[in-house]
Symmetry: C2
DNA sequence: GAATCATGTAACATGATAAGTATCGTGAAA
DNA sequence: TTTCACGATACTTATCATGTTACATGATTC
């Protein structure tokens, strides 16, 4: 099953926006993500509704960050893009009549619940600002300075 | 996206088989799962290849358990049905050229890896026999005796 | 105010994958 | 030899993120 990459993509965009002066257009962002401007607008609409970014039309318009990155976690972004189910596996029926099936589903859901709690905790513990700082630290450790420009010509 | 229910379904089937004398036909199993016999054969083929069940053709044929349930974990079943990806989210590109994207993916993958390790540990720690016993215990606690027959007429 | 730029939105196509279905072949038991 | 049950193939369906086209709306520039 193809994976939902909205969270990953939005984090990618937000980090670029953080080190970018002025608005970024959907067109520009789409090139970064190697996709279509409409996909960008569609996905970023969730971030706008949550107040993390804002958008302006017309000349000089585009997207800008509208929140304190220290106060927004990866989990917040996950939820802003729709908070899709984290897992690809699950039970077929919600409330099965069969007692065996209920027992099986209960056991599986226990395990999934634990894993989800861990994942939610991890995503909730990291702010966008921290993620940006850890990127900067990686750059220094790697011996090159990304400066303040876009970094998508960076060495592999 | 619709969730992969193969693990859940196979656990359901195996517990019924454990409390059932003689082979169970794909038709019979399909009714339990509210699906089609072909889907049953397709999914159970993985269990057969792994040696957890065996199948016989002709009169009196069907599926029987072929392994010690104490020695088969939920994780084993997950792998036998194809071991599909556990998560519904992930990164878009495997090895992005963009350094920011690599940093984002790395952070996400760290969190996912932890959650996956926990989930794998939980599924690996429970044997089918334990799952069957916990079902029996639930029955007793609920004040009714499922006996040795099929239990899918059990009270909700 | 006309042209241009950029977002907003609707509608439809695509891709991937589990699941559902129909059909025929094969082998075993009665 | 008839029936039963699995094995295998091919095709369809359902779902949903993603991709794409087209057009409307609003803001800036001239």
């Amino acid at each position: 099953m193809r994976k939902d990459s909205r969270l990953s993509r939005m984090l990618h965009v937000l980090l670029h926006m953080a080190r970018h002066d002025g608005p970024m257009t959907s067109e520009h962002i789409a090139k970064m993500l190697q996709t279509n401007p409409v996909v960008v607008r569609r996905t970023m609409a969730g971030l706008r509704d949550a107040g993390y970014v804002s958008s302006e039309k017309g000349h000089g318009g585009g997207w800008v960050i509208a929140a304190d990155l220290e106060k927004v976690s990866l989990l917040d972004i996950h939820r802003a893009v729709g908070g899709p189910s984290l897992f690809a596996i699950g039970a077929e029926h919600e409330n099965p009549a069969c007692a065996v099936e209920r027992a099986v589903n209960g056991a599986l859901e226990d395990a999934l619940r634990e894993a989800e709690a861990l994942l939610v905790a991890r995503l909730g513990a990291v702010s966008l600002a921290e993620l940006a700082r850890s990127f900067d630290a990686q750059c220094v450790a790697g011996g090159w300075n990304p400066g303040t420009g876009d970094a998508y010509g960076a060495p592999a």
